[in-house]
């Protein structure tokens, strides 16, 4: 083993650290640690000058290990890795110690103990650096093709955009025709363009593309492989399974409309229908009147937030807002008013969220006689002869109950996750508490999942309107293209490795891996476990399962962790 030469830089963070931790004492306590060649304190480690100081030290002292004791690695891990790389050192031999979030900020009341803790933390970092290996990213070749699951508005639009970039697209749709929910709609907000016309146009475009293959009545049956190289089996109804090989997967499976339970706001009795059903009736109604079940509608009550923003009154409540419904309802009210201006429309709502440009359609609805009543407690629905009577406690009248007798109650139902458990099982991408697919970061990585190369777009990720779904779909396209256009992906080296000498192939590691990254293989004359690096997330679930201690995790080896614990346990003088 080569001689270790380690540099330690302890950051003041302009006082954020040094006000509560005596950084000079920490430096003095660690400068004599074995292999420590350089130890300094710096005012701001992340400043250009300090980074240059580190680079110079690495070069001058021929360092092969670097420890910066500063803030959370979430903030500056990549900053200092890059600095190490610029100095010609292996970036994976850089170790960050979090002296701010885990020490100075947490122990402002006791500088002595905070300083002692700081010493232990930095010692552990040094120990980890001493046991670090020079690692490198590894490359995976990618296939220039994408599987798009779901041919609703998001899937259709994503397919076209992927095709525009020269990628081959396999678009699969469970139903017999494409278009999903959007195909059902006539006029849509904000511009009154018809939903089915959007779909017809996209469908025509898609059929003209040579690099898009559309399968309807088709479902994903199996998924194996990893980013850049997924093996897919698609089952077409009444046909053979089709095998495909793709570099990325775009999930655009959309949503189900919330189905109220029997009796929920009178659901199930005649004259109580959901917004999606009512919208289709309005779309197909002639000018001059609207009829439901053969009866002319004169008065309508809309009850908002059905199946959205639920509270503890139901089991497994949908606590989220479905986003599209307020805008869709006031837009529908506008269509109703244009068909028959004599119809009285009462909107019983909790909060009016016609956000963004949809505010204008709320304004239009209000101008044309729609009455808006805000409630806190859910309205009650009962029938009374030919009419349905809705009782609402009007918030603006101090919660006094009023009754409105109507011919039609429209339940403004929200969006719920699609029922497709087999797909969820196949893709292994996590669901959020709300049942929609979970992204990595809601703001910065909104379409990426923990599974490299699998992207979630449209409402599969969470409630959206058409415009938002399409924007999300195109984000998925951009991320897929960024992955595939280069021809390869570079992955971090923190993966599990199997020691073939020790391994006896019992299969326990394979069972433990949630990402199916371990498979059986033959090495020489015996069966051993093999980790597929492209699939491995470095989660470490396999390590404790191995009875032979034959698996180690790069970057977090047993040796490193043990030495860190030892260093941390050492008494502070």
């Amino acid at each position: 083993m080569t001689e270790r030469r380690i540099g330690v830089f302890i950051c003041h963070c302009g006082g954020n650290i040094s006000d509560y931790v005596d950084v000079e004492r920490v430096r003095q306590a660690v400068e004599k640690e074995p292999d420590v060649i350089v130890s300094r304190t710096v005012m701001f480690a992340c400043s250009d000058a300090s980074q240059q100081e580190m680079i110079d030290a690495i070069k001058d002292e021929k360092l092969n290990g670097l420890v910066v004791a500063s803030c959370s690695p979430k903030l500056h891990l990549y900053t200092f890795r890059a600095a190490a790389e610029r100095a010609g050192m292996n970036q994976y031999q850089y170790i960050q110690v979090n002296l701010r979030e885990q020490d100075s900020w947490a122990h402002r009341d006791d500088m002595e103990k905070a300083t002692q803790k700081g010493i232990r933390l930095v010692r552990a970092g040094i120990a980890k650096a001493r046991a670090s290996e020079a690692l490198s990213t590894f490359r995976v070749e990618t296939k220039p093709s994408v599987l798009v699951i779901g041919a609703g508005i998001a899937g259709l639009r994503a397919s076209l955009a992927l095709s525009d970039m020269g990628l081959s697209v396999f678009l699969i749709e469970r139903e017999s025709e494409v278009g999903g929910w959007t195909r059902k709609w006539g006029e849509t907000f904000l511009r009154d363009k018809k939903g089915y016309e959007y779909v017809e146009k996209l469908e025509k475009d898609i059929k003209g593309r040579e690099n898009i293959t559309l399968f309807t009545n088709a479902e994903l049956k199996e998924q194996a492989g990893a980013v850049g190289n997924f093996d897919i089996k698609v089952q077409v109804k009444g046909g053979d399974a089709i095998s495909l090989n793709v570099g990325a997967i775009v999930v655009a499976t959309g949503f189900d409309s919330y189905k109220p339970s029997e009796g929920e706001f009178g659901f199930g009795s005649p004259g109580v229908i959901t917004l999606p059903d009512f919208k289709q009736i309005v779309d197909s109604s002639p000018e001059g009147k609207i009829e439901v079940n053969g009866r002319r509608v004169k008065d309508i009550a809309y009850i908002y937030c059905v199946g959205s923003r639920q509270g503890d009154e139901v089991e497994n409540p949908n606590t989220y807002c479905s986003r599209y419904c307020c805008s869709a309802t006031v837009h529908t009210a506008g269509l109703v008013q244009r068909k028959d201006e004599r119809i009285n429309q009462f909107h019983l709502f909790r909060d009016m969220r016609t956000y963004g440009k949809a505010e204008l359609i709320y304004e239009q609805a209000a101008k044309h006689g729609s009455v808006f009543l805000r409630f806190q407690d859910a309205p009650e629905v009962r029938s009374e002869g030919e009419k349905i009577v809705v009782t609402v406690k009007d918030e603006l009248s101090g919660g006094d109950p009023f009754e409105v007798a109507v011919d039609l109650v429209v339940l403004v139902t929200g969006m719920v996750p699609r029922e497709n458990s087999s797909l969820v099982g196949n893709l292994k991408i996590p669901l959020g508490k709300d049942g929609f697919f979970n992204e990595i970061h809601p703001k910065l990585r909104p379409v990426e999942t923990v599974m490299n190369g699998i992207f979630i777009v449209g409402v599969s990720q969470g409630p959206k309107n058409i415009a938002e779904s399409v924007a999300s779909a195109l984000a998925g396209v951009a991320k897929s293209a960024a992955l595939l256009m280069k021809g390869y992906v570079e992955l971090e080296p923190f993966v599990a490795v199997v020691n073939n000498d020790k391994c006896t192939w019992c299969g326990a590691c394979m069972e433990a891996c949630p990402y199916s990254a371990i498979r059986k293989t033959v090495a020489g004359s015996k069966e051993v476990a093999e980790v597929v690096p492209a699939l491995c997330k470095g989660g470490g679930a396999c390590l404790p399962e191995c009875p032979e201690d034959a698996i180690d995790l790069r970057g977090y080896t047993d040796e490193q962790i043990r030495s860190m614990i030892t260093a941390m346990a050492k008494e502070v003088a």
Binding site: K367, S370, V371, L373, T391, D394, P401, F402, V404, A405
Partner: protein, 381 residues
Amino acid sequence: MAERIDPNLHRELKTFGAGDLDICYSCGTCTAICPLSDENSSFPRHVIHMAQVGLKERLQKSIEPWMCYYCGDCSDSCPREANPAETMMAARRYLTASYDWTGISKKLYLSGAAEVAAVVLVGVIIGLLFLFLHGPVVTDRVELNTFAPVKWIELGDLIMAAILSFFLLSNALRMMYWFIGKDKDLHVPLSAYILEAKTMLVNFFTQKRWRGCSEDHTRWLKHLLLVSGYLTMLTLVLILLRWFQTDKIYPIYHPQRLLGYYATIVLLYFTVDFMIGRRKKKERIHEFSHASDWMFLVLLFLTALTGIMVNIFRISGLPLATYIIYVIHLMIAVPMLVVEVPFGKWAHLFYRPFALYLVAVKDRAKAMEKARSKKKAVAAA
């Protein structure tokens, strides 16, 4: 029991001249800016909300429209330009029509043609009465009391006053019943009605609440003067008719003539002033004028004009001209009273102070109840 919404109320109110109440989003700026609304009454917003939602029963029970004197500040500051002040005005017309159990008021408000027809009809009846029943026509000198004997005119006066009072008071009783009688939780002792009588009188004669509207009291003063002229004239022709309608010509400083001239000048000046205001639409409050607003002003002006002409012709010794203009005078004055007093804009003269009186009565009753229960509690302790 939950109140049933009347989905057509907002349309109905629009026919009474309401502003664009659909567009209101209940922000409450109108109420915040209103110098007259207080913690017990949150108009205009409350009234607009009732109108918008269709709370008919509540609106009919509400006294709030009468507590507004239309300064127009709310309409000036409304972010939705929904013109709440005009909706308040429409609510007063709507209430006047609602109080009127005969349904005549509603017909007259909703149709300018019906109002004109009613005035013409009553006018023609008066004309016909004179055509067939007038006394001897003396042509060599003015003898009005021979042509139209004062005791007969006085009898007519009293009959008319009795009929009109019956309609007006029965309508006002409905207002009282809706505001106080329907409030089942409240018992109002007779003493409360008696003790608050002064509220009625003060507000009837001074409209002092109006002074709370703004720093500038010009409109209040003008209106006060107009009312003083009107009441003077009403007293002269109703109570003091025998003293007022004489063939003897008194000297110019005689109170009979002085009072008559005062009332006439005030009536002519201010009706013309108000008509010019409505015509020019310079101020917010005159931006919209309902047919009923014009009708009252025009009739009042014509009544005063023909009245003074009777006097001029009489003094000038023109017998025939005097008799003819006298008949015309009554053909205008009587329909004005018959149509406007119980069924039209005139009614506000009574309804406004009466509404304030009822509010005071209710407040007093509540205070009395509170004091009683406190006493009981003390006694029990």
